[in-house]
Amino acid sequence: MIGVSDETSPVGRVLGTTDATPLQFWTAVTPGSYLQLDDVVVTTRELPDREPVTIAGVVTQVRARHEGAQFDSDVFAIAEGTLPALVQEAAEITTTRVDPELYVPPAPGAVVHRASGSARDAALHFDRMERRIPMGTGRDGVPVFLNADFLDGTRGAHVSISGISGVATKTSFATFLLYSVFRSGQLGADGTNARALIFNVKGEDLLFLDYANTKLDDATTSAYKLLELPATPFSDVRVYAPPRAGDSSGAPDVSSRLTGVDAFYWTLEEFCDKKLLPYVFADADDERQQYTMVVHSVTAHLNRYAVPAEGGISIDGRRISSYGDLVDHIVEQLTDDDTRSTWAGSAINMGTVNAFARRLIGSKRDLARLIRGDLAQRRPHQIKTAESAQVTVVDLHNLPDRAQRFVVGVTLKTEFEEKEKAGTGRPLLFVVLDELNKYAPREGTSPIKEVLLDIAERGRSLGVILIGAQQTASEVERRIVTNSAIRVVGRLDPAEAARPEYGFLPPAMRQRALLARPGTMFVNQPDIPVPLCVEFPFPAWATRKSESGPPPAESMRSIVQGADPFAVVGRPGSDDDIPF
């Protein structure tokens, strides 16, 4: 039973002039008291021959009006002091918990108390959460929690975050949630062993996760303390960036973070062997074209006939050492009448081949720096979370669109296949991907969308948790959104807020989402019937170069020295043993 923590805190009485229902009712606020949106209240209903029912809920609307005024202009007479009237406030309460579960309406006139302490926890179902991950504070300044069961796949998985870019702070919330998972200790060993794969699509703001934030003030530190989290940066981060364009040494292309960044790329051999060509054609409209057939035949041909040769490959007796050469070779072979059928099959007409060739040639500029035949093959260059740090950041922000899709598609596919191979749900892998509407749009299909759908639908059992962010949930594949147990909304565009994807927000909250400030999110989780308004603290890690403190010791090494010669015991999360 939900206890009323403080009998001396009545704030009002249940109204009898509007219907009181078990799920929603109005409360008149006692003069001198107040209720604000999101306040948690509790009332009891006496029943004959049974224990009383405790009804708890949150305030979803508040109104104040002059009683005794008939006309709008009466307000002047009232303010002048000639017309007697009462100001009466009333609050709409949406029920969050009925205990025991007897759905009876509260009796009009019943005293309504403000809930605090254990009564508040009970009203918001926090008391039933075995493992609760702090995700910020409510409007009342007290922590609110996320049920870990709905995050780690026990009863649900995946997070969908929507909101206008810039003000909705989607990625900040995603990273804070990750931080909370890693540091709160609520997931036990799962939390410590969990990995995160973060794609950084905009700016370099996720490249400093392991740098202390120099702008961290006492207020923020105490906010972290309230949530029982340390106010420190992420501890184990590895950043991957694409090689600089036109640079033969393969140095990572970043401008602000200079240490602890590793370059990632794929060798031509991997490109052929792992059948990565379809990811070059990862636009949704690519799939609608006729040349998908050609893509698949060429992929199969490369897989079958390409032979590794000193970093590059050799095919048809020809040595190829760059992506450009490979493209040229494929186009040459396809346009040649003698070889076309061996590469693309016999039933392909020239128009289709040309369409394919045009696209392929167009990809040269975008992908040449990612698919290499000139760099040392044995040098580590792949993004593999299992062998990387706890947090792996893949920087995509200065890649063109097609290259971004290629990297996301291939990386996710590789990771998911690894997980499938391992066959266990542990360790957990959190994938943070912004602009989900680009990778998994509602219309059309693409190889990336297939991977993302796979993650959304089967990832829960394989321990792959998608934290997807998008400006508009209405433009993301519906199956991905519906598979997300946790839905988060920041500031929304007015037209977007009216869409059915946000049906979980009560009308008043939908309106509030239009003016949500940065740092305020509305979080809906399956076992609380009302979304919670959450304010999460300012990041304790740097989000840009200007606020970053000194680099962490680990990042002083580059991937070339992946095994620190001075470290006797391997770094956490690395399989490296004593290096001799």
Binding site: G68, T82, L83, P84
Partner: protein
């Protein structure tokens, strides 16, 4: 050609003076009227609000409302029957603090009574409310019962008028003062003009009043009489008697005190005048009074609920006496 005016009052309340007629109240009063109190009758003229008058910051207004909840019939032992009337009534005080800009209900009381001439009738408990029996003398015909409620309501009004008074305030009583004349700084506010007190020559002064102006004080020599004057409120239709109210104060006061109160009323009351589209009895029904009546009516409770409760209660009494 005769000029025509539509009376601002809703027809169901009667005309602004009972009896009708364009040129004055229905019947000439037989009371002795002394019109030479403030100025000699020959010099009567409308008086403007003096700028020297300091308006009271706090004005109290008292009013009551009544409602007939149900008509009843009794069945006596000897087979005769008496009419009964179950009525609810309420009285309240509004404190208008014009300096602070707040008007609040200071006190309100609700009474309920069963008015009947039946010698055997007792109190009726209808649901959660109790109708106390008020024995009416005489034959107690049904048509006379509504008038029998008035003394109880007036008693309630008098009772409540004494509450929460303070220094330098003004108490406005809705209706004639009657037996409330002992209250300090109190004026009676008469909305409807039933009797013509002034001689015809002076009546012209009344009808020539402009909004905010008052007539000089005169004295009415009846039992309930006293010092009195007419005042025109702003917002009337312009008809000769529209917006005219008669104000009275206790005859126990000296003429000077009465003149001072007349000045105060002229400075205070026009401010409270109501507007026609909001109040069917505008402008005479003052805004605070209208608000007070609304509140009081709300306190009387729902008439249908009470009617049903009464029906149920009397039925039970008949079945299980």
């Amino acid at each position: 050609m005769t000029r025509m005016f539509v009376d601002a009052w809703d027809p169901s309340y009667g005309s602004s003076f009972e009896g009708g007629g364009e040129e004055g109240p229905a019947s000439q009063s037989s009371a002795q009227v002394d019109t030479d109190v403030e100025v000699p009758a020959a010099e009567w003229a409308p008086i403007d609000v003096s700028t020297a008058i300091r308006r009271p910051d706090v004005v109290f207004l008292v009013d009551g409302v009544r409602r007939n909840d149900a008509g009843l019939w009794t069945e006596e032992e000897d087979g005769t029957s008496y009419a009964g009337l179950a009525a609810s009534f309420a009285a309240g005080v509004v404190r208008c603090d014009l300096a602070r800009g707040s008007a609040e209900l200071v006190d309100a009381r609700v009474g309920r009574g069963l008015f009947t001439a039946s010698p055997s009738a007792g109190d009726v408990q209808a649901g959660s409310v109790r109708y106390e029996v008020h024995r009416v003398s005489g034959t107690g015909e049904a048509s006379k019962l509504p008038a029998a409620v008035q003394p109880s309501l007036t008693a309630l009004e008098i009772d409540i008028s004494a509450t929460a008074r303070q220094h330098e305030d003004l108490l406005v009583v809705d209706g004639p003062l009657r037996n409330r004349r002992h209250l300090p700084r109190t004026i009676g506010y008469v909305k409807t003009q039933q009797k013509q007190y002034l001689p015809a020559a002076l009546t012209a002064v009344v009808t020539s009043l402009r909004p905010g102006q008052r007539t000089p004080v005169f004295h009415i020599g009846t039992v309930w009489g006293g010092w009195s004057w007419y005042l025109r409120l702003p917002g009337g239709s312009g008809a000769p008697w529209s917006g005219i109210v008669r104000v009275e104060c206790s005859p126990d006061l000296t003429p000077d005190q009465a003149i001072e109160l007349a000045g105060l009323s002229g400075a205070t009351l026009p401010r409270f005048a109501s507007s026609p589209y909001k109040d069917p009895r505008a402008p005479q029904n003052l805004v605070p009074i209208a608000g007070l009546e609304r509140r009081l009516r709300g306190m009387l409770g729902d008439s249908r609920v009470l009617h049903r409760a009464l029906t149920l209660a009397t039925f039970r009494d008949r079945v299980h006496p």
